[in-house]
């Protein structure tokens, strides 16, 4: 029997539920943790970012309009599929981050558990962040959190799967849609995650995954008038992060920027810290009318 030919894979972007190549036609080399060639990935351009924002905007009302319970079911199904691909994720995380198989398994398990954690929060977050405010009069005064809209996320550079899940999952769990700029050096688990999302019940456009250089693409997301919030967790360069924050101010975006240069330990429990930041609190007076 003759030897099989390698089936080589070029990793593509994930926009609006489809896997396009970069509009620019560019790709870049992704090396593994030991510096050897691993695969080619698409190098996203500003127009890919624009297309991703359009897809996220189109998907947003439908996703936010679902009940929290339904969003939870959809996200839990994603966790089921992640579990089915566990072996592939372990291999990719291990090779990309240079972890032993045992450590990589722990990271993948933590990622899936984190997804389940946020799936569980979808129909509970309103009860925790919302309130029936006490008022001195015959009225109701109710505060409810609503999704902010389209969120751009620069995912952590060093933690290619667990970090990515930790920043992206809470955004979609609370009803916003997201454009993720994956880790530049280790983008492959992100695209594999996108392949899981594409075969789950998640509507196209709720999560959009770009691979490429943060310094090139992030400024277009930070200035984009149709992006409501931006998470700069994965921007390592303090100068760039400062510029992006200033850019984002031009269109009054919410900005999440980690304090200090210390890299986060993603294995810590997620807590509820990231649940509220992409939600807007709406407070209404409700006269009893009696």
């Amino acid at each position: 029997m003759s030897e099989r030919l390698d089936v080589r894979k070029t990793y593509k972007l994930f926009i609006g539920g489809a896997f396009p190549r970069s509009e620019s036609g560019r790709s870049y080399v992704v090396n593994d943790a030991k510096g050897r060639f691993w695969a080619n990935a698409a190098l996203a351009s500003r127009k890919d970012a624009r297309d991703a924002v359009v897809a996220a905007r189109n998907a947003q009302p439908g996703w936010a309009g679902r009940t929290g319970y339904n969003r939870g079911q959809v996200l839990y199904r994603v966790a089921e599929l992640l579990e089915g691909r566990r072996g592939q994720f372990v291999a990719e995380v291990s090779r990309g981050e240079g972890l032993s198989t045992r450590k990589a398994e722990a990271v993948v398990d933590a990622s899936i558990d984190r997804w389940v954690w946020y799936a569980g929060w979808t129909d509970k977050v309103a009860q925790v962040l919302g309130n029936a405010n006490p008022v001195a009069g015959p009225y109701f005064n109710l505060s409810t959190p609503e999704p902010t809209g389209v969120v751009a996320v620069v995912a952590p550079q060093d933690s290619s799967l667990l970090g990515l899940v930790s920043v992206a999952a809470p955004v979609v769990a609370t009803g916003s849609t997201v454009v993720v700029l994956a880790s530049e050096t280790a983008p492959l688990p992100a695209i594999t995650l996108a392949e899981v999302l594409a075969t789950s019940d998640l509507p196209g456009g709720v999560v959009n995954m770009l691979t490429g250089r943060a310094a090139e693409v992030a400024p277009w997301l930070a200035t984009h008038a149709d992006v409501n919030a931006i998470d700069l967790t994965g921007v390592g360069d303090a100068d760039l992060a400062g510029d992006l924050e200033a850019d984002a101010a031009g269109t009054l975006k919410r900005v999440r920027r980690p304090a200090g240069a210390k890299t986060a330990d993603w294995t810590d429990g997620p807590g509820t810290d990231r649940l509220g930041w992409t939600m807007e609190i709406k407070t209404v007076w409700h006269p009893m009318g009696v």
């Binding site: 624009r50 905007r57 277009w220 200035t223 984009h224 008038a225 149709d226």
Partner: protein, 320 residues
């Protein structure tokens, strides 16, 4: 060139409409459209890359060419007033943004639109002749047209009788257009071919010639109520027809592409095609129009993108 052999083509064309038989002979004698060729030509023209200053010019030209349209059963007074306000100042944040060419409404909203426009020089277009089906008697159609003109419309969009055209009664179609043209008085007449119902490109070419022979000032692709509406190849055939008609008679007729054009990219493709096929003389709001509503917002977003250097979003233009 269908009339190229004739020494005095305009007189030749006058005789065409003399009888049913001569008209049919003329229309049947028009050269057939190469369907594959027309589609390939339109697709090639759509690949042209228009960037930077050329794009900025094209966007402003496209805005100036828009007939801002609302043709819904649910049109209220308020809807028409907001439409007129938007037509006058499409981008309130930018005083440099040009106005559109016209507002297009149903006849019973013409008076209101005219009043809302005040002294502004925008045109008021009105659909008439039992739009969109055109299934009514000639008396009603003429009354409909006269009503709109009396109320202040200076452009009338009429529909042709597709039933008569498809069953070969070209003279009936021609007579109707002539009668409506008369009822228009000084108002411009745009003749809607409703290409989505004409089935073939050959029919589109014949209908366009028929309308021009009858005195149309504009030929328009569609009502927007039938799918498919305006497409690139159909518009290409009509642009060829107006070009050939001017060569034959010396009279220039405009083209209006209506329905289904929603993005700036599409609009710029139509402009490229107009310049290439009909000629640069048609690249003017007097000779080429877009019938559209949502297109304007996309043009404004692109315009803002070029002015500010960053992408804009639907929060920065009005809801329609």
């Amino acid at each position: 060139m269908p009339t190229g052999a004739s020494a005095t083509p305009s007189r030749g064309l006058a005789e065409v409409a003399a009888s049913e038989a001569s008209l049919r002979r003329f229309l049947a004698g028009l050269p057939g459209v190469d369907q594959v060729g027309a589609e390939a030509r339109a697709a090639t023209l759509a690949t042209r890359s228009i960037k930077t200053t050329a794009k900025a010019t094209a966007i402003d030209l496209a805005i100036r060419m828009i007939d801002l349209t609302t043709l819904e059963g649910t049109d209220t007074e308020g809807k028409v007033r907001t439409l007129v306000a938007k037509a006058l100042r499409p981008d309130p944040l930018d005083p440099g943004c040009p106005s559109v060419a016209a507002v297009c409404v149903y006849p019973d909203r013409v008076g209101l639109a005219r009043q809302a426009l005040g002294a502004a020089s925008l045109h008021v277009a009105s659909v008439a002749t039992a739009f969109p089906a055109g299934r009514s008697s000639l008396v009603v159609k003429l009354r409909d047209t006269a009503d709109a003109v009396e109320a202040g419309a200076d452009e009338i969009d009429m529909v042709i009788d597709r039933g008569a055209f498809l069953s070969g009664r070209a003279m009936a179609v021609l007579d109707e257009i002539v009668a409506v043209k008369q009822a228009c008085g000084r108002a411009h007449l745009k003749v809607i071919l409703e290409t989505g119902e004409l089935v073939t490109y050959d029919n589109v070419r014949r209908a366009a010639w028929l309308a021009m022979l009858a005195g149309a000032d504009f030929v328009k692709t569609s009502t927007g109520k039938v799918q498919p509406a305006a497409t690139m190849p159909v518009t290409l055939v009509m642009l060829e027809a107006v070009r050939d008609f001017r060569a034959a008679t010396g009279r220039q007729v405009g083209v209006k592409a209506a329905g289904g054009i929603r993005s700036s990219k599409d609009a710029i493709r139509y402009l490229v095609m107009t310049g290439e096929v009909a000629g640069n003389d048609w690249l003017d709001p007097d000779w080429f129009r877009f019938g559209a509503s949502s297109l304007l917002n996309d043009l404004l977003l692109q315009r803002q993108r070029m002015a500010t250097g960053h992408y804009s979003g639907p929060d920065y233009v009005t809801l329609d």
